[in-house]
Symmetry: none
Subunit: 125 residues, 4 copies
DNA sequence: GTGGTCTAGACCACA
DNA sequence: GTGGTCTAGACCACA
């Protein structure tokens, strides 16, 4: 269910967060669903339990999951909203990136093509 | 000529690189122009000389400048091309970002609006 | 008669204690009344019997109930007093909370409004 | 500058967060001020660096400080606002606590007295 | 020196 | 079993 790229620059705990967000966005995980336990996932991914813990507590503080001591970690009711709102905040990054590309000499057409590509493949990985 | 945001998450050396690229893209600096000396810039920006050094050698390895030991660091002939090519490589990042936003539930309209905004304000900061 | 919020951060056994206290405070349960048996309540709430046991023995040591082995758990004569005294001890928590809020910049008016609200809706949940 | 109560139930990292908030609320620390480094504070308090790290990264994600890798951790511009807003969210807790006390039989007068006490000693510990 | 990530492993309260 | 906290200590990128 989860896959870690040890070569990647993005921290392991961040990779886990992103994958949970993806599963929720795709509707594969829904509010109330339980995530694998810290220990079981740490074994499955050959990763230290602390790293999973960090991912889960981040998901909790982002409003995507509820970590309930003694019971488990569950997708929260507000998960979809929290993810969408986080996405909205990233629109500013998108704007800056476009501006930077335009400035560096990349043409408007190349940029719009890339955006279209991104929009047209909505659920491929 | 250069400004460093000490609070920013982007490394200081990266901020310097970005600003050199911007100056070239805007045509303010051209092939053959000399960058400030490592020492003078380090003093001007209150930054460790090693950090400037790192920025300049990165600019060198990216084909944007030529560091000539004992003489200085100069904008290279290939600077504009190198910057544009780097920009093209960033199109992939743009594509991924758009895909990620779309997946997280941000609407197509919001995304296209942000792209337009980025394109319409070509040289504001 | 009892409801458990599995998503809540307050431990299940604590939730049970609070609900017993509320029933006594509201006069719904009185001295001598018998609480549901450990087994039956554990089944009703889909909760581990150990958890109910823990709640009941806590109620016992707080002087709110008497656990009689082999017979059951009964609201004690001193229940109302015990609850009121526990409440008085919580006045210190209230004082600290108010102090903390005031210190954090919340205005006196906002605090007094919240207190009034709490006082005016005496028995809504 | 910081003091840890090893006997307390509140986690060490939380104690540190609270103390930073208090220092900001009291105007002792201001936007831009640098917190002690992770290592130095860990030595001063005889606490593991990871624990300080956790406190600082929490302060960061709460908008109270900016952790800048390689430079240090600084009180953010938005610190006071962030603290005040967090306080406002705690008003709901206050309301519930008052309701619970009133229900348990504590008189209105006792409650109001405690609130006044909390308000009248604005900066004692 | 400074923060950030991670492993290894312990201990706690709660279910 | 389940999450939460913490120590001890390593290694990384950046300043």
């Amino acid at each position: 269910m989860f896959r870690i790229d040890g070569m990647s620059r993005t921290p392991v705990y961040e990779q886990i967060i992103e994958q949970v967000e993806k599963l929720v966005s795709l509707g594969i995980m829904k509010a109330g669903d339980q995530l694998p336990s810290v220990r079981s996932l740490s074994i499955e991914l050959s990763v230290n339990p602390n790293t999973i813990q960090k991912a889960y507590s981040e998901l909790d503080s982002r409003g995507i999951a509820n970590s309930v001591p003694g019971k488990g970690c569950f997708i929260s009711e507000s998960a979809e909203d929290a993810i969408k709102n986080a996405g909205r905040k990233k629109l500013a990054i998108l704007r800056e990136l476009v501006k930077e590309l335009a400035l560096s000499g990349v043409t408007k057409e190349e940029i719009e093509k890339a955006v279209e590509d991104g929009l047209s493949i909505p659920a491929e990985n």
